[in-house]
């Protein structure tokens, strides 16, 4: 496909936004790093002050449950 950039084989990433309680400077950085390291995750943006966490990812490469597991592992509460 992609004649003059209609690009993308399966749609460019799904964007999902969580609101997370319990961020501090350290764990926010750690969450960002861990999320980015997942195979399908292309972009992570975290607002530490209000917990707004935006993730752009490919659901066929990484499951939503893997995303939410990252918050859980750090003892954080994530809501949509």
């Amino acid at each position: 496909m992609c004649s003059t950039c209609g690009c993308s084989t399966h749609g460019q990433g799904t964007q999902i936004q969580f609101f997370v309680t319990g961020y501090d400077a350290d764990n926010a950085k750690a969450v960002e790093k861990q999320l980015l390291g997942l195979p399908g995750v292309l972009h992570v943006h975290i607002h530490t002050h209000d917990g707004e966490t935006t993730i752009n990812y490919n659901p066929s490469k990484t499951r939503l449950s893997e995303l939410t597991a990252v918050f859980e592992q750090k003892g954080l509460q994530a809501a949509i």
Binding site: C2, L42, H43
Partner: protein, 219 residues
Amino acid sequence: MEVSVMEDILGGNDKIAAENAQIFKNNNIFALNIIGSPGAGKTTLLEKTIGKLKKSLNMAIIEGDLFTSKDADRIASHEIPVIQINTSGGCHLDAAMVQKVLPQLNLAELDLVIIENVGNLVCPAEFNIGEDSKAAVLSITEGDDKPLKYPLIFKEAAVSILNKVDILPFTNFDMASAKNDITCLHPGIEIIETSCQQESGIDEWCKWLENAVKSKQNG
């Protein structure tokens, strides 16, 4: 009459890529897809690679560009089989383009096929062409912020080559930061620093390639 189909609309390229992968497998060939911006140093790196490896490995190169055979001409001067694919405006190689030229190669005799993709950090990352691995080439002059701006290729690549390190002193490229970002995107990715001008890192890169070929051929 009703004809049952059940085919993914955007699955065309992947099917052909799988066929290419099978062709490489049948011929015991390790296929590498090299991706990077225009001017990152892909072709020069290939010239250095050929210089080091052509005595020990049977290699062929497939060049992808919009127009001209300039890259293929450079490779041809090293007396290695090379084929130029011109996309005439297309921004990436796809599996069908590669499949079309494979019969021009003496596949049975080859150990390594390197496909130098069109200069572009975006689209080639999306399209499999049947390769065993992708390599992402980023040059110092492009800036240390590029990995996070173009995450997909760094996630897809098995190895990331940071090229033109001889120019580091003349730029504000933060090597630690770039390597950290690449590793964040892809924990475990191999990162190799190279300078084609000063021939540094080339041995390390060729070693990686030789090991990759060996692993493929030992099944």
